[in-house]
């Protein structure tokens, strides 16, 4: 693995990494990957993900479980940025591009 790959993983994971962090993670993640590669020796190429033996419906009925609005106050209070009871976010469409 290279430092560039670590920085790329940072981007994919939406975590900005400093150069110093990337260098440290490079060494550590390389060592961990080396260690966990043992699984390849144990599971042969023929081994695939097991499929469930018995399948049955585990979904609950799709019904409203609480009074409308009963959690709104708490959820809105937790918004980092808001306007009235709206969650305020940055624009995601860039008119220049």
């Amino acid at each position: 693995m290279t430092k560039e790959e670590i920085l790329h993983l940072g981007n994919l994971s939406r975590i900005k990494l400093s150069e110093k962090e990337a260098e440290k993670f490079l060494l550590e993640i390389d060592a961990i990957l080396d260690y966990v590669s043992d699984v390849k020796k144990i599971a042969s190429s023929a081994d695939v993900l097991p499929s469930p033996q018995v399948v049955h419906n585990i979904f609950r009925e799709d019904v409203v479980q609480n009074e409308p609005g009963s959690y709104s106050k708490e959820l809105i209070e937790a918004f980092p940025k808001k306007e009235g009871s709206y969650l305020k976010v940055q624009k995601i469409l860039n008119p220049d591009s």
Binding site: L9, I58, A78, P80
Partner: protein
């Protein structure tokens, strides 16, 4: 002190919930500046203790089973109106908007939740050093870790502020701190206890459970928090597993080859002595083979970070939590998560993202899940011949704070506990004596592993071996 003893005193009136509450607060005030077991202490619960005291005076033993019992709860479990941080900076000021199912059940049983406990960030670690709010210290030796990730819960019980606490266990996070702090730590069968309202770490591995001073208390708490929940579709229907008869004499299997390396000599001596105790009590102890268990740790450090990277994707600083605004939305994500997560969380997210990425998925995640399936088969085969598999809970007693800087050396502490989560079976850590380090006595634990759904058998043997000790 145990819940059972406390309850007896509450019923006779010899000691009241209010006195217990006041004593708990006094103990925290006296000891917690050293130990740092608690993240928040709920001083406003005094009224509940007063009400419980009144109810015992009126109704005595006809009160709910945990009435007035002060408990502490790991801070990755949501309690409505309380701060739920997961010991992460990214949720530093997050207030839970609802109760976890297990919290609801504990309240219905009358428990008084007096505080939230410290932990490794999002339950990632085995020492509670990864908390954004500073490490918790081991009450037996404050230069050492209490274990983790439920280290705050373990320390809260070991320092006698509460008689029991709730933790979560993804790879040993209840059992290992129980071992380091001289407690009973119980990890239920996967699916026995609802995960609704728990911050997900490894969704296929996580279970909540109790840390207690007796097996009877662990059983009592488990029977209160367990059960199928419409809000967690991985919870089990009551008839999911066969029932197990308790026996007079059990057979224990020792995976001898697995114990071959890396165990502290004093821990091994205690383990050998514990086996003798079992033999003297009339149980049979035989050597067994579990060759795949040695690969468990490798499979775990693929499956778990993969699930972590997915679960922690929700923390983006948009709807709740810490937000560090950047020039555009992408930079806001990148900055918020960079500032909000600690090093171990970042390490596991990166690793998980890697093993799940196109081209590597089959080589890592696919193989790890295949190993996991084989481990299940291997264990099921062993359970045809033995009732329990027995190992030390951890290879060493509590280590020094700051001693394990290399992540792999810390991961190796989980070698005996992670196969249990990978296979989904229940297991319990019991104190098996103390070893001496630098003139101080440090507790160490023994782990009993049982087949899926065989909780009753675990409690039966645990009560006979541990609770009944003179």
């Amino acid at each position: 002190m145990t819940i059972t003893e406390l309850r007896k005193k509450f019923i006779t009136g010899e000691y009241t919930p209010l006195q217990a509450w006041e004593d708990a607060m006094a103990t925290i005030a006296k000891k917690d500046s050293d130990i740092n077991a608690y993240l928040d202490v709920y001083q406003d619960t005094k009224e509940e203790a007063v009400a419980a005291t009144d109810l015992y005076a009126k109704e005595g033993e006809n009160t709910p089973p945990l009435l007035g019992v002060p408990l502490a709860v790991k801070n990755n479990i949501l309690i409505k109106g309380r701060r739920a941080t997961g010991a992460s900076k990214i949720l530093e000021n997050y207030i839970a908007s609802y109760d976890a199912t297990i919290i609801k059940k504990l309240r219905e049983a009358g428990a008084i939740l007096i505080g939230s406990t410290n932990m490794d960030e999002f339950a990632m670690g085995g020492s509670t050093e990864n908390s954004a709010f500073g490490p918790t210290k081991n009450p037996y030796d404050t230069s050492r870790v209490p274990g983790g990730s439920s280290g705050g819960s373990a320390a809260a019980v070991a320092m006698d502020s509460v008689v029991a606490a709730i933790g979560t266990d993804t790879g040993g996070s209840i059992r290992q701190p129980a071992s380091y702090c001289g407690l009973v730590g119980f990890k239920p069968t996967y699916g026995a206890v609802s995960r609704f309202g728990l911050m997900a770490m490894g969704s296929s591995l996580d279970q909540a459970g109790p840390l207690t001073n007796s097996v009877a208390d662990a059983e009592l708490l488990f029977n209160i928090i367990k059960g199928q929940d419409a809000n967690d579709m991985t919870t089990l229907a009551p008839d999911s597993y066969p029932t197990f008869e308790t026996k007079e004499a059990y057979t224990f299997g020792v995976p001898r080859a697995f114990l071959g390396q890396g165990i502290d000599a004093d821990v091994m001596d205690k383990f050998t002595a514990h086996i003798e105790v079992l033999r003297e009590a009339g149980h049979k102890v035989v050597d067994i083979e579990l060759p795949l268990f040695e690969a468990g740790l490798a499979a775990y450090y693929i499956v778990m970070p993969a699930e972590v990277s997915s679960n922690l994707a929700r923390f983006d600083g948009i709807r709740y939590g810490v937000q560090k605004e950047g020039e555009d939305l992408l930079m806001t994500y990148l900055n918020s998560r960079a500032a909000g997560f600690g090093a171990e969380a970042k390490r596991r997210i990166l690793l998980g993202t890697y093993v799940l990425s196109a081209g590597y998925y089959d080589a890592y995640y696919g193989k790890a899940e295949a190993v996991r399936a084989k481990m299940r088969e291997e264990l099921a085969e062993v359970f045809k011949a033995v009732d329990f598999v027995i190992t030390p809970t951890a290879p060493t007693p509590a280590f020094k704070i700051g001693e394990k800087e290399d992540p792999l050396s810390l991961y190796r502490q989980d070698i005996f506990t992670v196969p249990v989560n990978l296979t989904g079976v229940p297991a319990m850590s019991l104190p098996m004596g103390k070893v001496e380090r630098e003139g101080l006595e440090l507790p160490v634990g023994v782990q009993y592993i049982a087949p899926h759904g065989a909780e009753d058998k675990l409690f039966n043997i645990g009560k006979r071996v541990y609770d009944a000790r003179a």
